[in-house]
């Protein structure tokens, strides 16, 4: 600031640069400056709560007994002896894998569709992004009506298509297996726009000459997709998969909004169970332990995927 007053006339010799004048040209100063907000955010809102929950999970802390007494792995041993937790762990895997496979497959199909030129493509693209853009609470409310035991538009449609009779309406959210299928459907529906966008990016990155060569070489639809397209976009699929898995494994919103884990815990996932035990029931230490069980699984998944990617690059 002090330099600006000295250089008012054009003819004046350049003032001696101040110590701070070229500070913004210096990466050594800029890099920490730009990284600081992200670092502060991660430390305060991610790292600190994570460390805190690790500590909670090793203590006897709950809302009736605010002691930080160290109990070692007792909470973990407790939850692994609990049938509900074990069922939840299984549910989480089923939920994650099924929702991702369905979501990514739908995404791939959608991306293939969007690669073509047709009338109303812009509108279709807008529609496809909707599941992603609509607030999850709102969307899940709509799905709840669609799965409703009395007013289900799905059942109504199935009945009018003569696929089910009037007295055999499935109770989507009231029966254990159907409830699981329902939450998977909703989550896959939520994931597929993301899959479509990622696949679209991957597909458009394949050179046109390669696609043309493939057609001239005589490859049909399946061979083209499974021997050329998918292998070429594998790195992108892996990234999409990693994001999808992390996103699904830690998610509790669909389950919580649709079924609250019921009926009889059949749709609980780690997130929703941890929330119910730790927050709603006030057993913070067990809740923390449940949520931390996710950590090793996600770590392994991330390492495997990243290693796979690196190996392909070599």
């Amino acid at each position: 600031m002090e330099t600006t007053t000295t250089t008012t006339t054009a003819a004046a010799p350049p003032a001696k640069p101040s110590r701070f004048q070229y500070m913004l040209d210096n990466p050594g100063f800029l890099a920490p400056l730009f990284m600081a907000p992200a670092v502060v955010y991660i430390v305060l809102l991610v790292a600190f709560p994570t460390v805190l929950s690790v500590y909670y999970s090793l203590s006897a802390y709950n809302i009736y007994n605010l002691s930080f007494k160290f109990v070692g792995l007792k909470n973990y041993i407790d939850i692994f002896q609990d049938d509900v937790f074990l069922q939840t762990l299984g549910n989480t895997f089923i939920f994650t894998i099924a929702a991702n496979v369905i979501g990514l497959a739908l995404g791939k199909a959608t991306a293939l569709l969007l690669l073509r030129d047709f009338r109303g493509k812009v509108f279709v693209r807008f529609l496809i992004i909707l599941p992603w853009a609509v607030p999850i609470a709102l969307a899940t409310l709509a799905w709840r009506w669609m799965f409703d035991s009395l007013y289900s538009v799905i059942n109504w449609s199935l009945q009018h298509a003569h696929l089910i009779g009037p007295n055999t309406w499935p109770n989507w959210l009231g029966e254990e297996h159907l409830a699981m299928i329902s939450v998977i459907i909703v989550h896959a529906w939520r994931l597929f726009p993301f899959g479509a966008v990622i696949f679209l990016a991957g597909l458009t990155s394949i050179p046109k000459d390669v696609m043309d060569a493939c057609v001239v070489d005589g490859a049909g639809f399946w061979r083209k997709n499974f021997q050329i397209v998918i292998p070429m976009i594998t790195p992108i699929i892996a990234i999409a998969g990693l994001f999808g898995i992390v996103f699904t494994f830690t998610d509790m919103s669909v389950v919580y909004l649709l079924t609250k884990g019921g009926p009889t815990n059949s749709t609980h996932v780690l997130g929703s169970l941890a929330f119910q035990v730790g927050i709603l029931s006030g057993d913070v230490s067990h809740g923390a332990a449940i949520s931390l069980v996710m950590f090793p699984f996600l770590l392994v998944a991330s390492i495997l995927l990243l290693r796979f990617l690196r190996r392909r690059e070599v």
């Binding site: 000459d209 390669v210 043309d212 060569a213 493939c214 057609v215 070489d217 061979r223 070429m232």
Partner: protein, 342 residues
């Protein structure tokens, strides 16, 4: 091997007409070059022959078989692309084997065929590499091997040399021509490079704005251009065009020489030439200047081979130049088409 016959092939992209009804027969075993500037429709025509693009109307025969409506794989054609279109995740071996696998060739026949194709192109030692480990010239050969391996009736090549550096391009040109002569497969080659066209083509199809402007051997195209487009598109520098008696008179720079070079020849047209500037290009000199007595806004050029280097041409001076009358071509002023002597 097969001949390719196109009848009134038209292609419309929305309001734009890319091809205005093309008639052409490419003979069996011929090396035919489609030559023209960017956007003249040559690649579109090639893609229609290949089946990657559909014609808006017209008929197309490969061999004697009508192929309109058939997918590329049913046409017996193989194509080499400008960027080669190799499959980056597959080894060279699997790249070459790919078209065989799609045809359902038995496994035990694939390996010898791949090795035969790779051997023909001298890339046998590269079979276990991935495309990104290869140089540009090697990639181009892999692409050729992949096209060759299923022994197509017609080879289609879309500017396959344009991604190579200048030196490699010259040797690749010779190899490609030699290779085609050896296997004798009907070949259609698209390029905008007149040197490639002249050097490789048995016949050249010169195209402009979706129309064929002339079809002929390199000599015919160069010496007897059918119109001013062909006359000025081929040749470096291009043919000089000046107005004379209501016609356009054309003559090639290398035929427009100092009178002393002709020695005792008669039947010359003498013109005084005022030199504006001289470009020295090593093996030749290109002299820019103006003709005396012929109204013409632009410059004309003379290309003097280096063996007449003793001629001292100074800028601003006027010299006696001449053209053999047989080297003068006349074109209609309004249509640009070739006419009889003006």
């Amino acid at each position: 091997m097969a001949q390719v016959e196109a009848k009134q092939i038209k292609k419309q992209f929305g309001d734009v007409t890319a091809l205005h009804g093309i008639d052409l027969t490419v003979k069996e075993g011929e090396f035919c070059v489609f030559l023209g500037p960017s956007g003249c429709g040559k690649t579109t025509f090639l893609r229609i022959i290949c089946g990657l693009e559909s014609a808006s109307s017209g008929e197309l025969y490969i061999g004697d078989k009508p192929v309109i409506g058939l997918p590329p794989r049913a046409r017996g054609v193989a194509m080499v692309f400008q960027t080669y279109g190799l499959y980056p995740h597959l080894k060279v071996r699997d790249n070459i084997a790919f078209p065989l696998k799609t045809q359902g060739t038995p496994k035990d026949e694939i390996k010898p065929k791949v090795e035969w194709a790779a051997g023909l192109l001298g890339i046998g030692h590269l079979l276990d590499r991935k495309p990104r480990q290869l140089s540009g010239g090697e990639r181009q050969r892999v692409a050729l091997a992949r096209a060759l391996v299923r022994e197509p009736a017609v080879f289609l090549l879309d500017e396959p040399l344009s991604n190579l550096d200048a030196k490699l391009r010259t040797s690749a040109r010779n190899e490609l021509k030699e290779f085609q002569r050896r296997i004798g497969t009907t070949t259609i080659y698209v390029t905008h490079d007149q040197v490639e066209a002249m050097g490789m083509g048995d016949r050249i199809v010169v195209m402009e704005h979706g129309r064929v402007r002339q079809v002929g051997t390199p000599t015919e195209i160069y010496d007897e251009p059918a119109n001013t487009f062909v006359a000025t598109f081929l040749g470096t520098p291009p043919m000089n065009l000046v107005e004379s008696n209501g016609h356009l008179m054309g003559f090639r720079p290398e035929n427009f020489l100092h009178k002393s070079i002709y020695e005792n020849l008669t039947d010359l047209m003498d013109i005084n030439f005022r030199v504006a500037r001289v470009e020295y290009l090593g093996s030749e000199r290109v002299v820019y200047g103006f003709l005396e007595g012929i109204p013409h806004e632009g410059e004309v050029m003379s290309k003097l081979p280096v063996h007449v280097g003793h001629l001292d041409l100074r800028e601003g001076e006027q010299y006696p130049f001449a053209i053999k009358r047989q080297d003068l071509k006349y074109f209609d002023k309004s249509t640009g088409e070739r006419t009889a002597k003006g």
